[in-house]
């Protein structure tokens, strides 16, 4: 892989993705050992720079860094101050002078990690940018699928919900299609991006038809503010047409995996029953997230300063 940055799965090849998944597998014993610390990243300075709050993602990165022996610092910037105040470039310069090795950035605007990467010596990991990509979430999803199914190629994966605003969906589409999966998206037509077929996916408006013979069903978080901006009439109506329950899941293969990037609106995207049922990988996804992030940090520093 390109050891400099991880900005999105769009930039990675199938081989590079596979390398990350395989490395994640090697990281699990470290996580599972009683003394969770190796010294691989000893002396490295890792900064999480979050312009948007996400305790889940930030803590996952921090733990991954700490298990590998790095020092971590967290900087949170309120979203409201992005529009005024210090420019991203100025922030970058400040960080630069503090001697940071890797910056992990979450930002509400598409392309911000690219801008950061273009102006900083340190390596950059995108922890979610605008409606564009959330590559580490998709990698942990791929890893979870691979652990259960032994492969990704030729699996049918259904992604359901707000595809338009979901960076998780977009990174998963890039990753899954590159790894040879058949990807189907389903959601209200107002929440399906224009010409998404060009990304190599099929579009369904009927969730049951979409789910037929699926190996994996991935539900996305639905946000109330989309309703307020007129993209769908009500959460109740969304739940009626696109919510995933036992009935919908029965159209899929018997061994189907049920995934969700969390946090779940219980009873809206998926019912509590199936969320806690045997198909659900939701808790395991969180665990795998740490392994994936350890793998990335390892791979990105392994090559020394190779770029």
């Amino acid at each position: 892989m390109n050891y400099k940055n991880l900005l999105g799965l769009r930039d990675l090849s199938a081989e590079e993705i596979q390398e990350i998944l395989t490395t994640a597998h090697l990281m699990r014993p470290v996580m599972e050992s009683p003394n969770k610390k190796i010294t691989y990243l000893m002396g490295k300075n890792i900064l999480t720079l979050f312009y948007e709050s996400s305790t889940r993602t930030r803590v996952s990165f921090e733990l991954a860094a700490k298990y590998l022996g790095a020092t971590t610092t967290n900087v949170s910037v309120a979203t409201s101050s992005v529009n005024k105040g210090e420019s991203l470039i100025d922030t970058v310069r400040t960080l630069q002078s503090m001697g940071v090795d890797i910056v992990i950035m979450r930002h509400p605007m598409t392309g911000a990690p690219k801008l950061l990467a273009d102006h900083i010596e340190a390596k950059v990991i995108n922890a979610g940018d605008g409606i564009n990509e959330h590559p580490t979430q998709a990698l942990l999803d791929l890893y979870t699928i691979e652990r259960h199914k032994g492969r990704i190629k030729d699996l049918k994966v259904v992604i359901a919900g707000d595809i338009l605003h979901s960076r998780v969906a977009r990174s998963n589409i890039w990753g899954l299609t590159k790894m040879g999966a058949r990807v189907v998206v389903a959601g209200p037509s107002t929440l399906i991006p224009k010409k998404i077929e060009k990304m190599g996916v099929e579009v369904f408006q009927d969730i049951k038809k979409a789910v037929v013979d699926a190996d994996v069903v991935m539900a996305l978080r639905m946000q109330k503010e989309r309703q307020e901006s007129g993209l769908f009439p009500s959460l109740r109506e969304y739940q009626h047409y696109f919510g995933i329950d036992e009935g919908v899941l029965s159209y899929a293969k018997p061994e189907v995996l049920l995934m969700h990037p969390g946090p779940v609106n219980r009873g809206i995207e998926i019912t509590s029953d199936i969320m806690e049922g045997p198909h659900s990988t939701i808790e395991e996804q969180v665990t795998n997230g740490v392994a994936i992030r350890m793998a990335l940090l390892y791979l990105m520093t392994r090559g020394g300063d190779k770029q």
């Binding site: 420019s87 598409t110 392309g111 564009n132 960076r167 224009k194 990304m199």
Partner: protein, 432 residues
């Protein structure tokens, strides 16, 4: 008596349908003679063999930023950029601070331009007070002070009722209303054209329907009132088609396209460089082809730059935070030569129509032609010269161009305003 002789150039004057090798004698700021052979000794001369001699280019859509945003551009730097690009007259949009919505500001710009400018500046007044879209600005007084047209460019006139009144009112002074066609509820939040590329890049899109709807509305209002509308920066296939049909039906409508909309698609946005962020956005290949067709068949009358300089720190931001706009004065002619002339979309005479004669007609200026007695506004170019665009060498203060590093044909060698060479290989600095 100040004289200048231009010899042996290919003289292009669409108004008289002249396209041939002629000598031109300039005297006291006016064209004194155009003949096959003017034998005169001891007169400063420009040898124009293998060069094109054209009426000075006119850009009817420029943002000069002064007053109010002098860190982006000033009248001085903007007119210097215009002269470098071969323009002898530019019309500037009123979205400054304060907004040009009264006679005193129209006068201010002209005085400033006379004092510091390199080329002629004709202010465009606001349609509505403060560009607020609520009350009509005093168009009559602004016309008397020298305004040549009216526009709220940057903002669409959302109220159809106000737009109708503006058309009717401006027609008393035979002035044209220049419309920025954008349906804001559709374009809100959008950063680039909505379509395959916005989906691939993960950016909120601006649908082409946002332009189409307003073009359709303004055609309806022009038809209904019988008054003149000029559609600024048309960028969509649907917009071009609406204008084509309206013209066939005799509606008093004209239109312009920018060089970036006929030479780039939304694929340029890949890489998230905010120098590609412009409104209306760069569109698809299909739209670009429609704009080219529109230029070719006369649906689009004018090439205008929508020159929109910004400070480099403003563009060096997250794509979403960066302002819309790219600079255009110095790249317009090379882009036209490269994409229109060398690809046989337009003949040289048609190019001069769109970059000089038509804008002059639309703005009621006595310019845009090379004829005896006419003010000597002349542009001389080498259509064969190839040059790499370097954003760090622009005369504009703005560095925001997506054409940096591109090699283009066509170089402006002389820009002559009222018989005075304001631009040649060495600058003749006015007031310096």
């Amino acid at each position: 008596m100040k004289k200048l002789l231009i010899t042996g150039g290919r003289v292009l004057d669409p108004k008289s349908n002249r396209d041939g090798i002629f000598d031109i004698l300039v005297e006291e700021g006016k064209i004194k003679a155009i003949e096959e052979n003017i034998a005169l000794e001891d007169v400063p001369r420009i040898e124009a063999q293998a060069l094109w001699v054209m009426p000075g280019l006119i850009d009817m859509h420029v943002h000069l930023r002064e007053p109010g945003f002098e860190h982006k551009e000033t009248i001085k730097s903007g007119t210097k950029s215009a002269a470098a690009g071969g323009f002898t007259t530019i019309a500037c949009m009123p979205n400054t601070q304060p907004v040009v919505d009264q006679a005193s500001l129209v006068e201010y710009i002209q005085i400033k331009a006379q004092r510091e400018g390199f080329v002629k500046v004709r202010p465009i007044g606001a349609i509505s007070k403060g560009l607020q879209g609520e009350e009509l600005a005093p168009m009559g007084e602004m016309m008397d002070a020298g305004a040549v047209a009216f526009s709220d460019d940057g903002n669409p006139v959302v109220s159809s009722s106000l737009m109708k009144k503006a058309l009717e009112y401006a027609s008393m002074w035979k002035a044209v209303i220049i419309s920025h066609c954008e349906e804001p509820s559709l374009s809100k939040g959008g950063l680039m054209n909505e379509g395959e590329m916005s989906t691939i890049l993960g950016m909120q899109g601006i649908p082409s329907a946002a332009e189409e709807i307003m073009v359709a509305r303004d055609i309806a209002l022009a038809r209904y009132t019988g008054c003149r509308v000029h559609i600024a920066h048309v960028s969509t296939a649907a917009g071009v088609e609406l204008i084509r049909r309206a013209k066939r039906q005799g509606v008093a409508i004209t239109a312009e396209a920018t060089p970036h909309h006929f030479s780039l698609t939304d694929r340029a946005v890949e890489g998230y460089d905010a120098d590609t962020k412009v409104n209306p956005p760069l569109r698809t290949q299909e739209d670009v082809e429609a704009v080219l067709k529109g230029l070719q068949d006369g649906t689009i009358d004018v090439i205008a730059t929508d020159h929109a300089p910004h400070h480099r720190d403003e563009k060096k931001q997250e794509y979403k935070l960066a302002p819309f706009g790219i600079v255009g004065l110095e790249t317009a002619l090379p882009l036209a030569i490269t994409h229109l002339i060398r690809k046989n979309i337009l003949s040289p005479l048609q190019l001069v129509e769109k970059m000089s004669l038509h804008p002059a007609r639309i703005l009621n200026l006595s310019a845009g032609t090379l004829q005896v007695g006419q003010e000597a506004d002349i542009t001389i170019i080498d259509p064969q010269a190839e040059k790499k665009i370097d954003k760090n060498q622009l005369y504009s203060q703005g560095r925001n161009t997506p054409f940096h590093g591109q090699s283009l044909y066509g170089q402006v060698l002389y820009t002559i305003v009222d018989g005075i060479v304001v631009k040649n290989l060495e600058w003749i600095e006015k007031g310096e």
